[in-house]
Each structure stands twice: as structure tokens, then as C-alpha cells.
């Protein structure tokens, strides 16, 4: 097998060389330092560093709040994608542009805005206080911030699949006697599920590592509302590089395992699909297959 198929276009060697060099210098070499540092710790010391109560609490808080936010986003993101693809209403273009706001707005700006909005004297915080719910400086605040950050991942994952969904399938289901809810549940939803899951996974992964939008609204009380990324920062400020590395490695490891599980779920949800229907296959993957 040859490394490269023939092409009349020039510039392959320098472009690829530069790409690989830059990738190695900026991403691969620095990132591998993290793995070497973790390996250096050894299993016993690694376990020692991450089994402390403060670390396990921080990891638990990060993963549970990210999970809760990703679930909220999966539900509302699906509804939003549905409404934007299927219905028409005034101001649709404007709202559509706003969906990407969390991608464009710096996280620190989102953080201070959400913190002000949901604090006891804020517009929304004071409303919730009246019914006895405190949001700012509790894990609930973290969920709010992560919901803000993750929403576009779900909407933008589901939208293209929904747009390409053939109406004929729904018509066929209806003509065979299915009512609207049966059609949605048995025909539409299974088709959207893989995209919904990948949006969910993206929102979840982003949420676990999120820092800027969270630290202002979380209050950062150890054991209660301190997230894992903040603990890494605190350990770095104390020059505890081993501790910081261990928390980061644990975070990456757990994320990795969960993403593999979500991938498996995604493969299972695609079990009825023939390869020709598989919209998530890119031309490259098809070419290589």
C-alpha cells in the first residue's frame, strides 16, 4: 500500500509537513507531558492524591452537575431544534443567531452575568428566593451555568439531521394508521437519537471541564460547590503540581470512559440504520471505508 494516492495538485509535502510539525509542537508534545507526569506518579501515589475527600467531592460535583445540565439541554435543545426547523414565527432569524451566543460570549462574561442575575438580589434570584430556592452559590447555580454553556451543542447537532429527515417517512407512518405521537415516537425520534446523543456528549464533556462561567455563580465552597477544574487551579497556586496533575488525569479518565459509554449507546441507537442512511458519515470516512 502506498502512503499517498497520486494527485496532480502540488504542495502536499510542505503542507503536510507544516501541519504535523505545528500540531506536534503546540498540541501533541505539551499534552504528552501531562501523561508522562501522571505515569511518573505511579498508581499508589495517584490513588492517594485523588482519593482525598475534597478531590472526590469536587469530581462528583463536576460530573453530576454536567450530567444534569446535559440532560436539561437534551430535552430543551431537542424542542428548540424542532421548533426552528419545522415552524415559522416572527424573529426566527434573530433567535437563530442568538442560539450560538454561548459559543461566542467569553465564559467570564457569562459567569458574572449569571451570577448577578441569580444572586439573592438579582432579577431571577430574588424571584426564586421568594419560593425558598437558592441558586447562586449552590450546585444549582453550577447547573444553570453549564446549561447556558451546553445548549448550542445539542441544538446544532440535532438541527441538520432534522432538516434532512424525509417527510415521506412520516407520511408513510401516518398512512399506515399511526397517530402523530406514534409517528414521532417510533419514526422520528429513533432517527434523531444518534445526533441527540452526540450533542448530549459534547455538552456533557464541555460541562465537566468548564471553569470561567462556573466559578462566579458557584460560590466555590469546598465539599459543596467546588468543581474539579477550580481544584486544579487551587493546587497549582499552592505549587502542588502532582496534585493538580492527578485531578486533571482523573477528570480526563472519567470523561473518556463516559464518552466511550455514550458512543456505545450511539452505536446501539443506530442499529436499524442501513449504511446509506447514515448521515453522520463524512465523505472522508466513506472514502476510507
Amino acid at each position: 500500500m502506498k502512503f499517498k494516492t497520486n494527485s496532480p495538485l502540488p504542495g502536499f509535502a510542505p503542507a503536510l509537513f507544516y501541519t504535523v510539525l505545528y500540531l506536534a509542537l503546540i498540541v501533541v508534545i505539551p499534552l504528552s507531558g501531562l501523561f508522562f507526569k501522571t505515569a511518573e506518579l505511579g498508581l499508589a501515589q495517584f490513588w492517594d492524591l485523588i482519593s482525598g475527600e475534597r478531590v472526590t467531592h469536587a469530581l462528583t460535583i463536576s460530573f453530576t452537575t454536567a450530567l444534569a445540565a446535559a440532560i436539561i439541554n437534551a430535552v430543551f435543545g431537542l424542542i428548540i431544534a424542532w421548533v426552528f426547523v419545522r415552524y415559522d414565527f416572527t424573529g426566527k432569524g434573530l433567535f437563530d443567531a442568538i442560539i450560538d451566543l454561548p459559543f461566542a460570549l467569553p465564559t467570564a462574561v457569562a459567569g458574572i452575568a449569571l451570577s448577578t442575575l441569580y444572586s439573592g438580589s438579582g432579577w431571577l434570584g430574588s424571584l426564586f428566593n421568594k419560593i425558598g430556592i437558592e441558586i447562586a452559590f449552590t450546585p444549582l447555580g453550577i447547573v444553570i451555568a453549564l446549561t447556558f454553556i451546553g445548549l448550542p451543542f445539542v441544538v446544532r447537532s440535532v438541527e441538520p439531521v432534522l432538516r434532512e429527515l424525509e417527510k415521506e417517512l412520516e407520511e408513510a407512518a401516518a398512512s399506515l394508521g399511526a397517530n402523530r405521537w406514534q409517528t414521532l415516537y417510533h419514526v422520528v425520534f429513533p432517527t434523531l437519537l444518534p445526533a441527540l446523543l452526540s450533542g448530549f456528549a459534547l455538552a456533557f464533556a464541555r460541562g465537566v471541564g468548564e471553569y470561567g462561567s462556573v466559578i462566579f455563580i458557584a460560590g466555590n465552597v469546598p465539599y459543596v460547590s467546588e468543581v474539579a477544574p477550580l481544584l486544579i487551579v487551587i493546587k497549582l497556586e499552592e505549587y502542588d503540581y502532582a496534585g493538580a496533575t492527578a485531578v486533571a488525569a482523573a477528570m480526563l479518565l472519567i470523561s473518556f470512559v463516559l464518552l466511550i459509554l455514550i458512543n456505545a449507546l450511539q452505536a446501539w441507537s443506530q442499529r436499524y440504520k442501513s449504511s446509506s442512511q447514515n448521515v453522520s458519515t463524512t465523505p472522508v470516512q466513506e472514502h476510507l471505508a
Partner: protein, 286 residues
């Protein structure tokens, strides 16, 4: 008569069977828009409301503060280095991945996307592990005056890392879709490689390129977690705009914090507006 009636019934029932009832449509739309207003518009509105709470004069004074101006300057300089570097990389990566077939292409694409899945704080951490006091790459700098951490080079490095995939991600699918027929035609007519790139490829990808640069720039200027770890927070020296927002906020100087934040919010709004225009006029869809 009988048959036409039947047709009408089938039509009506098939119509209601492939779309929801009026009430359901109204309900779903209301839920979707309320969620967007509550979670996205309200925080955005808060930024500007809080910035202008004490009037335009306070707002103007906050913007012309010396430390604030230093933060703006540092942010602009860091992006002005990081974005062009990622632009060159993005074009080189897209050229090799989209126009050629070679082994290991999927692996290369995956590695390019890797920075998307690394937490900003962990990004900061890996460069501290590299260039910190006992960092593994620190001996390389022993005999030089170059300081990376708590200085501009560190801020630039993490900015490049977090925005690494943006431009490449934008260009690869675009260039794959366009194929290489036009380039091959130009070459067969006697153009050389650079001429083909400048006169054929670049005009075809310019809007995608512009959008990628905008996204990359917005993220580079707004990056908080990674920069926070490597910057050292030296006021007036290594504070970028988002870090300055944090400091002002933690000092309870809310009006000034939100005034600074409003600059970043405007940058975000301009990015979104240009994106919307590009999608409408040039059919870019993401």
C-alpha cells in the same frame, strides 16, 4: 361525490398526521422561545444593564481606566499573534487533508480536534508542567532571558492551543465539498501552484475562512481559564481583558467589571451578526 369526499378526508387526516395540532405547536414554540429568552437573552441583557447602571459617565470612565486599557492592549496583541498562526496552520491542514488522499488522515483529523476536548484549566496546566520552575522543558530556557509563564509568550501559547482547531475545522469540509477540479483545470492551463492557490482556491474559500478567523479571534480574546492559569495576574502587565473583568468583579467594582465585559459582549454580538449575514448571503451552514 362520494369519492371526492373520501379524498378530502384523507387529505385532512394526513395533514394533521404529519404535523402537530395548533395547540401543541403553540406550546412547543412558547417553551422553546421562553427557554432562549431566560437562558440566553437575559444574561446578555444583564451585561449591558449593569454596565450602564450608574450612567454613561461612569461607563466611559471605567473604559478609559489605565489598567483596563493595558488589558485591552494585551488581549489585542495576544490575538494578533495567535490568530494569524492558526490561520496559516488551518490553510495548510485543510489543503493536505481536503485535497489529498493519504494514510493516517483520520488520525490526523482527530488530533487536530483534540484541543476542543481539553478543559481550559488543563490546557493551562500542561504548559505550567512544561515551563514551570521544575518543568520538563524549563532547562531549554535556562541560558536565555525568555520567560514563558506569567508573560506574553505563555498567554499566546495557550490562546493558540484553545483556538487551534477553529479555522481548520471550518475549511476542511468546505474544501472537501469543492473538490479539486477547478485547481486541476487551472494547473492544466499553465498556472503554477501558488497562482492556483491565490486565484482559484482562496476566492472559493474566502467566506469560510473569514468565519473561521472570526470564531478563532472571539475565542482567543475571550479565553479565561487557560490564560488565568499561565498569566500570573499581574495588574497592568499580564492581565487580559477577561482576567481584568474577574479582578474588578471580585473587588466588588461591578459597574467597571460589566463595562469591561460589555466590550467582550459586543465582540460576541458582532461575531454572531457577521455569521448570520454570511449564512444568509453565502449559504454557509453549520
Amino acid at each position: 361525490m362520494n369519492s371526492s369526499q373520501r379524498i378530502n378526508i384523507t387529505k385532512a387526516s394526513s395533514h394533521s398526521a404529519i404535523s402537530e395540532g395548533k395547540l401543541t405547536r403553540w406550546l412547543l414554540s412558547t417553551v422553546a422561545l421562553s427557554f432562549l429568552i431566560l437562558f440566553l437573552l437575559l444574561p446578555l441583557f444583564t451585561v449591558f444593564a449593569e454596565a450602564l447602571r450608574n450612567g454613561w459617565q461612569t461607563y466611559g470612565k471605567a473604559l478609559s481606566d489605565a489598567d483596563g486599557l493595558a488589558a485591552i492592549k494585551l488581549t489585542v496583541i495576544a490575538s494578533a499573534i495567535a490568530v494569524p498562526l492558526n490561520l496559516i496552520f488551518g490553510v495548510a491542514a485543510a489543503w493536505s487533508i481536503a485535497k489529498f488522499e493519504f494514510r493516517g488522515k483520520v488520525l490526523l483529523s482527530t488530533l487536530i480536534d483534540l484541543p476542543f476536548s481539553v478543559s481550559p484549566v488543563v490546557t493551562g496546566l500542561i504548559f505550567v508542567l512544561m515551563f514551570g520552575a521544575s518543568g520538563w522543558a524549563a532547562p531549554l530556557l535556562n541560558n536565555t532571558d525568555i520567560q514563558i509563564l506569567f508573560a506574553l509568550p505563555g498567554i499566546v501559547l495557550v490562546s493558540i492551543f484553545v483556538t487551534f482547531p477553529f479555522i481548520a475545522r471550518e475549511l476542511i469540509p468546505l474544501m472537501q465539498e469543492q473538490g479539486s477540479d477547478e485547481e486541476q483545470a487551472a494547473l492544466s492551463l499553465g498556472a503554477n501552484g501558488w497562482q492556483t492557490f491565490w486565484h482559484v482556491t482562496l476566492p472559493n474559500i474566502r467566506w469560510g475562512l473569514l468565519y473561521g478567523v472570526l470564531l478563532c479571534n472571539a475565542r482567543a480574546m475571550g479565553e479565561f481559564g487557560a490564560v488565568s492559569v499561565v498569566s500570573g495576574h499581574i495588574r497592568g502587565e499580564t492581565n487580559t481583558l477577561p482576567l481584568h473583568v474577574e479582578i474588578l468583579y471580585n473587588e466588588y467594582n461591578f459597574a467597571a467589571a460589566f463595562a469591561m465585559a460589555s466590550i467582550l459582549a459586543c465582540l460576541a454580538l458582532v461575531t454572531l451578526a457577521i455569521k448570520a449575514v454570511l449564512e444568509k448571503t453565502h449559504g454557509l451552514k453549520h
